[in-house]
């Protein structure tokens, strides 16, 4: 991906060419935080490290920041090895999960901190602090202390403080996880807007798939300290490379199955209760092999017994099921069905199915992805 080609007119050029991470390892007393972690970040990119807590994504970010010293591997910025460069000399900005605002300084003094360290004329600092606060819409809050600001405002101060020094690389560690849902959406847009407007290069750590999908140019799925898959949001969303990745990207139905008949483009599997499905193989299978079949709730088709339209869903076999639970989630309903023999499926349906009603469920073979069973949980 070469952002230079897609950069709209008026957007500033990124301040770095490339950050190269190679074979990064980090071992803590009991656990391996990182092993053979590789990643290239190009100037101007927004990259998310996505994974569950404890997968090593924050350790990777801290290694880039210089706050954690890796046991092995290298981090190079435009060809220069950063190993001997302390965090205070790297010129990176960081937004912490807890914001880490200095409680004894006002919002303006928090933002001014980095500029004061760099030195420079008082007037110049005052001007740039005012600009940075305006950038995050906090003009009137300059003289407030962190304790006098709401969570969202503190988050904005933290962002302004990290941006005002014009960092070469912006590092963000779950910056939205302490905000409520509405603010989170608002700040997500804000972060993406600032990234584009300022020509930033951003490395963003999150465990929230929606955040990663909406913000990123590329998503890095991290598992047990290593990179599991890298791709654009569209890629990883529609073509997850493993059951682990699928699980993380909203494939909430993960069925343990046995491969019965394996082919090039289709694979027939048997699930709990003897139910048989046809799915799309994501790797080569031998007959009789244990596998995981994954499908998103929104791809599960639910119809009343009389209204079932096999033509619409193609070749997927229909199975009858009983509605166990329906939850209203705003724009749709999440309906949990039991298909007999303990097989449960979660579907996203446009209508509310009464509890106990009999339905016909279809899993479209194109949308049912079959992965090797490698312990996805």
């Amino acid at each position: 991906m070469t952002p230079e080609n897609v950069r709209p007119p008026g957007q500033p050029a990124p301040r770095i060419g490339q950050l190269r991470i190679r074979n990064l390892t980090k071992q803590y007393a009991e656990t391996t935080a990182l092993r053979a972690f590789d990643l290239d970040v190009h100037g101007g990119e927004f990259i998310s490290l996505l994974g569950p807590s404890g997968c090593g994504k924050t350790t990777a970010l801290n290694c880039v920041a210089g706050l954690v010293e890796p046991d092995g591997g290298s981090i190079e910025l435009d060809g220069r090895d950063l190993a001997a460069v302390p965090p205070e000399r790297r010129g990176f900005g960081m937004v912490f999960q807890s914001y880490a605002l200095f409680p004894h300084l006002t919002a303006a003094r928090n933002v001014a901190f980095g500029l004061e360290i760099m030195g420079g004329r008082r007037q110049e600092i005052t001007r740039r602090v005012a600009e940075a606060l305006a950038l995050v819409h906090l003009e009137g809050m300059a003289d407030r202390y962190p304790a006098q600001l709401s969570g969202g405002q503190q988050q904005r101060v933290a962002l302004a403080r990290a941006l005002v020094t014009e960092p070469r690389l912006l590092l963000m560690d779950e910056p939205l996880s302490n905000l409520d849902a509405k603010l989170r959406l608002e700040m997500r847009l804000e972060i993406r807007r600032l990234h584009q407007a300022l020509g930033l290069t951003t490395l963003y750590v999150t465990h929230d798939q929606e955040e990663a999908l909406s913000l990123s140019d590329r998503i890095v799925l991290v598992r047990a300290g290593t990179v599991q898959q890298i791709g654009t949001p569209e890629d990883v969303y529609s073509q997850p490379g493993s059951a682990y990745v699928a699980n993380f990207l909203g494939y909430r139905n993960l069925l343990t199955v046995i491969v019965e008949e394996s082919g090039e483009t289709r694979v027939r599997v048997a699930a709990l209760g003897g139910h048989r499905f046809v799915g799309s193989p994501r790797e080569r299978f031998a007959n009789g092999q244990a596998a995981v079949a994954a499908i998103r709730p929104e791809d599960v088709e639910v119809a009343a017994p009389g209204e079932d339209r096999p033509a619409a869903s193609g070749e997927g076999a229909a199975l009858t099921a009983r509605v166990e639970l329906t939850e209203f989630v705003g724009d749709a309903f999440e309906t949990s069905v039991e298909a007999g023999g303990g097989l449960r499926l979660l579907a996203r349906t446009p209508r509310r199915w009464p509890r106990g009603s009999a339905v016909v469920v279809r899993l479209p073979p194109d949308r049912l992805l079959v992965f090797a069973d490698e312990g996805h949980a």
Partner: protein
């Protein structure tokens, strides 16, 4: 603000009940004796009885030997407080996060608290006397030609106070230091701050309330020095501290009224110091020491 779920009126009654023992203790152990002493000091006995209510104070400040006890005490209390703070501050800061051996180190640093001044004084006489181990080693290593006089003078009391006062200062600072969010220092680093900038712009401002509390405690404790001034000091001369002056008035001259006046002077000096520290502290930041989301 009432706790969630606790009815306001019942909470009030409970608060008063829980507060009662503390109020009673302060009243019985502090306010009543203090008021009694103050009144006693204003009713001079003997030859001073004709000099009016302030005759005891006039006698104390009019007598150069008595007056000197203030200076004798200050020149112990002030440097001991400053030096203990200077030693405890970096140690407390270093030990604020779990490091290998932290418990052992902390325990060793707090041991002097359990000894008491008399035991420390006895140990010091053994160790620092002209024939003690310290001088034997110093002589053997040719660090000195003649034995150093380290006890039964100012130096003796100074060393004794330095040891006995340290644990309290250290523990107070440790409490404050471990309450500072470690992410604040990391945030400062990411903003380009080297160790000096982090120390002066983040750590010390956030530690200021702790330093003030430790200084006040330390000064009050050392200003009321008594046993070590006698045991390892020179109680007739340079370590005739103010507590000793009060004791002599009370139990050598049996003039409780004069002794009360001296005790009130002592309390007044301690109060002035504490007030000064609190004023300085109010200039510094006093809020939470955790970053963000306070």
């Amino acid at each position: 603000m009432p706790e969630i779920g606790a009815p306001r009126h019942r909470g009030r009654g409970l608060d008063a009940l829980l507060l009662a023992p503390a109020v009673l203790a302060v009243l019985v152990l502090f306010i009543i004796p203090f008021a009694y002493g103050l009144l006693l000091s204003l009713e001079p006995h003997g030859v001073l009885a004709k000099g009016g209510p302030l005759a005891n104070y006039a006698a104390f400040f009019g007598n150069p030997r008595e007056r000197a006890s203030i200076w004798n005490t200050l020149r112990l209390a002030l440097p001991v407080t400053l030096i203990d703070l200077a030693i405890a501050l970096p140690l407390a800061y270093r030990l604020r996060r779990p490091i290998p051996g932290q418990r052992v180190i902390t325990a060793l640093l707090v041991i002097p608290m359990t000894l008491g001044t008399v035991l420390i004084a006895e140990g010091m006489i053994e160790f620092f006397s002209p024939a003690g181990w310290f001088n034997k080693i110093a002589l053997a290593l040719h660090l000195t030609a003649t034995p150093l006089q380290l006890v039964h003078n100012y130096t003796g009391v100074f060393i004794s106070l330095l040891i006995s006062d340290f644990p309290a200062v250290f523990l107070v600072l440790l409490g404050f230091a471990s309450g500072i969010d470690p992410n604040l220092e990391r945030a400062a680093r990411m903003l380009g701050a080297g160790w000096w900038a982090r120390l002066t712009r983040v750590t010390l401002p956030l530690l200021a309330p702790g330093i003030a509390a430790a200084a006040a405690l330390s000064f009050v404790a050392t200003f009321s020095v008594f046993p070590s001034a006698v045991l390892v000091g020179q109680p007739a001369g340079e370590t005739r501290v103010i507590a000793l002056a009060a004791w002599q008035a009370a139990y050598e001259r049996y003039d409780y009224s004069q002794a009360s006046a001296i005790a009130i002077v002592m309390a007044a000096i301690e109060l002035i110091f504490v007030a000064g520290v609190l004023v300085l502290r109010s200039q510094a930041y006093r809020g939470p020491t955790l970053g963000g989301r306070a």
